[in-house]
């Protein structure tokens, strides 16, 4: 089974092909010239497609009025992607610079062609993908993801299997899995692994570490697969370990009651202690300050009085300081107390 025959929605043309060809054959003539001159697939294609304002002159009919279908390909991103050595026509099969309408078989949907191209070079990944719930859902109603839903098309990043960067893990979770599994991503992002990940800790688990990516997706607490999933990084994990609740709402509404109880208890405690703590400290602080400074008079004079007092204190301390340790070697503290009575 392959992706051929799975009907992706095909854009319909507003202008008939015959009329349109007149409109942009001029451009194509130019392209032909430049294309042949450069003879390079990527560079040649980017002469037109590398322009950020390049839009489809014959956009499909179902496009909103005033909206353009951009045909721009960011050259920098493409050349920074893992496919920098590929030619455009490796994916866009049948696109040539040397023919006027630059797609050999115009009846083929170009997207379909490009998507199917992945399969040709990545057999193994495709085979794995075929067995997944995602593929099933895609063949059923196109709700499941295909290669480009997760990887993108022109800016595909290197994976570095086994030593993915924190940034890769995070962006995969947020920009691909998170696009369809919004709730699960939102929930996971309050959890330890994701907090650590978003602070750059690449060893922490992201979606695909636990769930897998091309196959083996669903996990259920207590199942042996789940134990295996955790064991990749927690070698001592047992069945009980997998009852850790990975996906919980921020306020823990969906959590086990014990988690909720602790959460509500401590949130309440926090507020109560915070409010009473601040109130009490303010009163205490204010009373104590007033009592102490009150000795020195009123208004601004109070401040000067206090400063003078501090100066006197330091003078007293300097004068009262003993000359050396021997000065009080035969000192008897008991006598002093009697003196002070």
């Amino acid at each position: 089974m392959n992706l051929t025959g799975v009907g992706l929605p095909r854009p319909r043309r507003r202008v008939s092909r015959v009329a349109a060809s007149a409109a942009f054959s001029a451009i194509l003539m130019l392209g032909l010239f430049v294309g042949v001159a450069s003879a390079q697939d990527v560079e040649g294609c980017l002469i037109c497609h590398g322009d950020p304002n390049f839009t489809d002159p014959t956009p499909p009919e179902n496009l909103e009025e005033g909206e353009d279908l951009s045909l721009y390909v960011d050259a920098e991103k493409f050349l920074g992607s893992v496919h920098d050595e590929l030619k455009c026509s490796d994916c866009h099969k049948g696109f040539l610079l040397t023919i006027p309408n630059h797609q050999i078989d115009v009846d083929k949907d170009f997207r379909q062609v490009a998507i199917e191209a992945c399969e040709g070079c990545h057999q193994e990944a495709f085979q794995q993908y075929q067995t997944s719930e995602h593929a099933q859902r895609f063949y059923e109603d196109q709700a499941g993801p295909i290669c480009i839903s997760c990887h993108g098309s022109h800016a595909i990043r290197r994976v570095n299997l086994g030593e993915e960067s924190a940034d890769f893990k995070m962006s995969m979770a947020r920009d691909s899995c998170g696009q369809c599994h919004e709730d699960k991503f939102e929930q996971a992002s309050h959890e330890f692994h994701f907090k650590a990940l978003s602070l750059g800790y690449e060893r922490a688990a992201t979606c695909f570490d636990c769930h897998g990516f091309h196959d083996n997706l669903a996990l259920t607490s207590g199942e042996p697969e789940t134990v295996e999933a955790c064991r990749q990084c927690h070698p001592g994990a047992n069945k009980g370990f997998t009852y850790f609740q990975m996906h919980l709402q921020e306020g823990f509404q969906d959590a086990w009651w014990g988690v909720r109880a602790v959460y509500y208890l401590f949130s309440t405690l926090l507020v109560v202690v915070l409010v009473t703590g601040i109130a009490y400290t303010t009163v205490h602080f204010q009373k104590e300050t007033r009592t102490m400074l009150g000795v020195f008079g009123r208004g601004a004079g109070r401040l000067f009085g206090f400063i003078r007092h501090l100066e006197e204190e330091s003078v007293k301390e300097r004068e009262g300081r003993p000359n050396g340790p021997e000065d009080h070697s035969n000192d008897k503290p008991e006598n002093d107390h009697r003196g002070m009575l």
């Binding site: 602070l199 009980g240 370990f241 609740q245 602790v262 401590f266 602080f285 102490m292």
Partner: protein, 283 residues
């Protein structure tokens, strides 16, 4: 002649409040507390723009995790030292556990609280405190209780697989909620509002109470601050246990320096916490 100065020889006398053991423990508390806050808070408030910056500064999640664990060990150390001391205090009959000198709360604390509120309202004199005031006791015991809770849940998460071999995995969810909320309570409330203000921020001790660094305070301050203890000791004739000639020599300078350093660190820690916690609320 001012109280606390020897009439004949001009030797200044001080009240020795904290032994070297207690001061050492306070250093452990300070170091571990700051260490734990600095390495733990960014994880809790990872959405703050500052979180990543600070996290990178302290060596990323991995480095922070390591420091956090070392500090946790310090934390356990002072806890067990303090509890051990208390056991020894009772065993060696240094004093009754519920006596006036003890850190254990008693009936007098309740009276002091009431007296204090009367004083706030201008309806009575300021209560005459014993060796430890009620807010000091609150400070101490909330720290000890917090250490048990945070330490226990921290250990659970340090060894999650071991925890899961005893308890179901959801206990780790509970542990995290408890750890993080209690830590926040400890930092935000006990630490900044109660301890900083009541111990170090009051006008007579601002910006830091020297007594916990030098161990002693001038006799006249002592008499004004803890009149009840002073009178008890006077009556019992045990004042000589706590009154000493003022310490001299290089240690006094070292203590002042340490105090200055830790004041700056504390200020930094408070700013740091505020940046992480309050900043996201405002912006």
């Amino acid at each position: 002649m001012a109280a606390g100065t020897d009439a004949r020889e001009g030797v200044r006398l001080v009240y020795r409040r904290f032994s070297a053991f207690h001061r050492f423990n306070h250093y452990l508390v300070m170091i571990s507390f700051f260490g734990l806050v600095l390495t733990g808070i960014p994880l809790k408030f990872k959405d703050s723009v500052w979180a990543e910056f600070f996290m990178d500064l302290i060596g990323g999640v991995e480095g922070a995790g390591f420091v956090h664990r070392v500090m946790a060990v310090f934390n356990f150390t002072y806890f067990f030292l303090e509890m051990g001391y208390m056991a020894w205090y009772v065993a060696a009959r240094k004093g009754p556990l519920f006596g006036p000198d003890s850190i254990v709360p008693g009936k007098k604390d309740w009276q002091d609280i009431k007296g204090m509120f009367r004083w706030f309202l201008g309806k009575g004199p300021k209560p005459r405190f014993n060796r430890f005031t009620y807010w000091e006791k609150f400070d101490f015991w909330s720290l000890m209780a917090g250490t048990v809770l945070i330490g226990g849940t921290g250990l659970m998460m340090w060894f999650p697989e071991f925890t899961a071999s005893l308890l179901p995995g959801v206990s780790l969810n509970v542990a995290l909620v408890l750890h993080s909320n209690e830590a926040f309570l400890a930092t935000g409330v006990i630490f900044i509002f109660v301890h900083f203000f009541s111990a170090h921020g009051r006008p007579e001790s601002f910006p830091a109470d020297e007594v916990i660094f030098s161990g002693s305070l001038p006799l006249d301050h002592y008499i004004a601050d803890r009149p009840a203890e002073y009178e008890n000791r006077l009556r019992a004739g045990t004042l000589d246990q706590v009154v000493r000639p003022a310490p001299t020599g290089p240690m006094t300078r070292v203590n002042s320096w340490l105090m200055a350093i830790f004041s700056v660190v504390a200020l930094f820690a408070a700013t740091y916490t505020m940046l992480l916690v309050v900043w996201p609320l405002l912006f």
